[in-house]
Amino acid sequence: MSPYVPILVLAAIAAAFAVFSIGAGALAGPKRYNRAKLDAYECGIEPTPQAAGGGRFPIKYYLVAMLFIVFDIESVFLIPFAVAFDRLGLFALIEMVLFIATVFVAYAYVWRRGGLEWD
């Protein structure tokens, strides 16, 4: 089992580090709470309290975030293609056009169904 000893040691160090960090923070850190600290971290909207009478939960923030990810991934594939497109030939060009077309289908759906209107 010798190949596993380094992995086990690594796991033990990782666990010890996590336990130590949280423990030390809980013991030594000052506890001064304010409203901002209890908010959702960095992104999103307040999930509670819900709108009175069971109103709809606004999801426009998440729609924009999802669209961003779609185009983010698209560029992840586009950049390697752009770097080497002269060597890849017609096949890769057709593949890329098909790929972009399918991404735009999703975009057209979001646009037509009002996902891009903020209010």
Partner: protein, 539 residues
């Protein structure tokens, strides 16, 4: 001086060879799904539903035709993807006998599932008018009055079918994982779209999503460990690495192999609903809209067992003595848990869910035969079980509360099925036939399916599994027969239920299921021949 960073000059790019005829069924289904999204975006609201039904049916039937062409051309072996010269991502799809058989089965079943989903003659259909409306809110009522309909059901279903076609045809673990996600994610959404009892439906959707994501992570981690073991995600390379004939001679890495197999198995066993990974099944089957439950119960099982067969028979035959005992345990536990817990169920959808768990156990005995006749037995079983399940759930969707203004929601409590045989002999008769088939009574297709897998197990020395399977079937027969007795020999006590008049789609689905169940019970060789001819996996 050597440069710190040297850009390697790329070798000449070789375009992958793709056999478009072999992958045509998948291309058609995915193409239809994309068209369906465009319909959702641009078609006028009033005609959207009917256009979607047309697109889905045309796409699925054309794909079935493409599978038919593959069958007529003979069971050719075709791989699509980058030529296999260079390792990891080579030949990611393989279209061999089992793949063609399973794709044909999935497409035939999903056509019936689409037909049950088109049912709108009773109570406006099974799906919510507006999924985003809060249950019980004024907005929901308004959407219902205007007659909105969530026609996204059909593109979601098509994407799911596409993934299911890809899952058992995947030739490497990464493609398999992508297929797993492509068919699972739409299913999570579909589960939450029920028209009645929406909170239950949304709960089912959330549970399925969380547990499904969890199990996908297990699958992915298992794939990563197997990659660490074999330095390839291709199933054939993993098989070669296990037997020691692989490119890198792997020595002393059995830990990676065993852990990888175990984690991969968790992901697959979750999808087929085998104990102890079955906990989601009853809740999800009960909460999901009934046509979706039928689709999920039939097609997911076919796709997931297809992938499990491929992994066990192509990638892992060399390691079978290591993982067989564990899978034996899972199979026995699944059969016992499914059959025994089903006895105490009082909801017909939950009872069918536990029955499907028991069937997963019976199917596993065929998988564990590790033999060609085991494969053909499982293929046959999946086909007949799929039709029986779709038919049974289509009937469940018809039995309704007798509301003051016509028909109400589905009457799924078993007590409401009492006396159904006297009031609605046709519906009760068809449901009786499906229950007998699930119980494995002779002259129904279910008997031949069970016979096929159990005899394969016996002839390969797994008679213990077959014995437990027969005993579990006997226990299971009790709760199937109990429902039949309830329908024919007892009087309704509380609120009576009525059978809604089915629309054309549901009626066709039920009738075809009845025909398949009877014909394959009397003349099983019609399907045994093709199943046997198809039962050869190619790496």
């Amino acid at each position: 001086m050597t440069p710190l960073l040297s850009v390697p000059v790329a070798a000449d790019f070789v375009a992958p060879t793709v056999d478009y005829v072999a992958v045509l069924p998948m291309l058609i289904v995915f193409g239809a799904a994309i068209v369906a999204v465009l319909v959702e975006a641009f078609a006028p609201r009033a005609s959207r539903f009917s256009i979607q039904v047309g697109v889905a049916l045309v796409g699925l039937i054309a794909a079935l035709g493409a599978v038919g062409k593959l069958i007529v051309d003979g069971t050719r072996v075709e791989t699509a993807g980058i030529p296999a010269a260079d390792g990891t991502l080579a030949a990611s799809i393989v279209i061999d006998g089992p793949a063609i058989f399973l794709q044909g089965t999935i497409l035939a079943l999903s056509i019936l599932a689409v037909l049950t989903m088109t049912e709108r003659s009773t109570d406006g259909g099974a799906f919510t008018p507006q999924a985003s409306a809060v249950p019980g809110s004024p907005g929901e009522g308004a959407a219902r009055r205007v007659g909105l309909v969530q026609s996204e059901v059909f593109p979601l279903m098509l994407f799911s079918v596409g993934g299911m076609l890809m899952f058992p045809a995947s030739n490497d673990l990464l493609t398999m994982f992508v297929a797993l996600e492509v068919f699972s994610l739409p299913l999570y959404l579909l589960c939450g779209l029920a028209r009645r009892r929406r909170l239950l439906s949304q709960e089912a959707s959330l549970k399925y999503f969380l547990l499904g994501a969890f199990s996908s992570a297990f699958f992915l981690y298992g794939a990563a460990l197997l990659y660490g073991f074999a330095e390839s995600v291709r199933l054939a390379d993993i098989a070669a690495a296990i037997t020691g004939t692989g490119r890198p001679a792997v020595v002393g890495q059995d830990g990676l192999l065993l852990l990888g197999i175990a984690l991969l198995a968790v992901g697959l066993l979750f999808k087929v609903g085998a104990a102890p990974f079955h906990i989601w099944t009853p809740d999800v089957y009960q909460g999901a809209p009934t046509p979706v439950t039928g689709f999920m119960a039939a097609c997911t099982k076919v796709a997931a067992f297809g992938a499990m067969l491929r992994v066990v028979y192509v990638a892992l035959p060399g390691a079978r003595w290591d993982f067989m005992p564990a899978l034996w345990g899972v199979a026995i536990l699944t059969m016992v848990v499914g059959s025994v817990i089903a006895i105490v169920q009082t909801d017909v959808k939950r009872m069918l869910a536990y029955s499907s768990i028991a069937h997963a156990g019976f199917l596993m005995t065929g998988v564990l035969a590790i033999d060609k006749i085991g494969i053909s037995g499982v293929l046959f079983y999946l086909f007949v079980y799929g039709f029986t399940t779709i038919g049974a759930f289509a009937l469940v969707s018809l039995v309704r509360d007798a509301g003051e203004d016509g028909v109400g929601g589905e009457a799924t409590h078993l007590s409401q099925w009492a006396g159904l045989g006297k009031r609605h002999p046709m519906a009760a008769g068809a449901f009786t036939l499906f229950l007998l088939a699930m119980a494995g009574i002779p002259l129904t297709s279910g008997f031949m399916g069970k016979y096929a897998v159990f005899s394969a197990a016996v002839s390969n020395g797994a008679w213990v599994l077959a014995l437990i399977g027969v005993l579990a079937s006997a226990v299971a027969a009790f709760f199937y027969v109990r429902v039949i007795v309830l329908m024919y020999f007892s009087e309704p006590s509380g609120s009576a239920s009525v059978v809604a008049t089915p629309g054309v789609g549901t009626l066709f689905a039920i009738l075809l299921s009845v025909v398949v169940t009877i014909v394959l019970g009397i003349a099983p060789t019609v399907l045994f021949g093709p199943a046997e001819a198809a039962s050869l996996f190619l790496p």
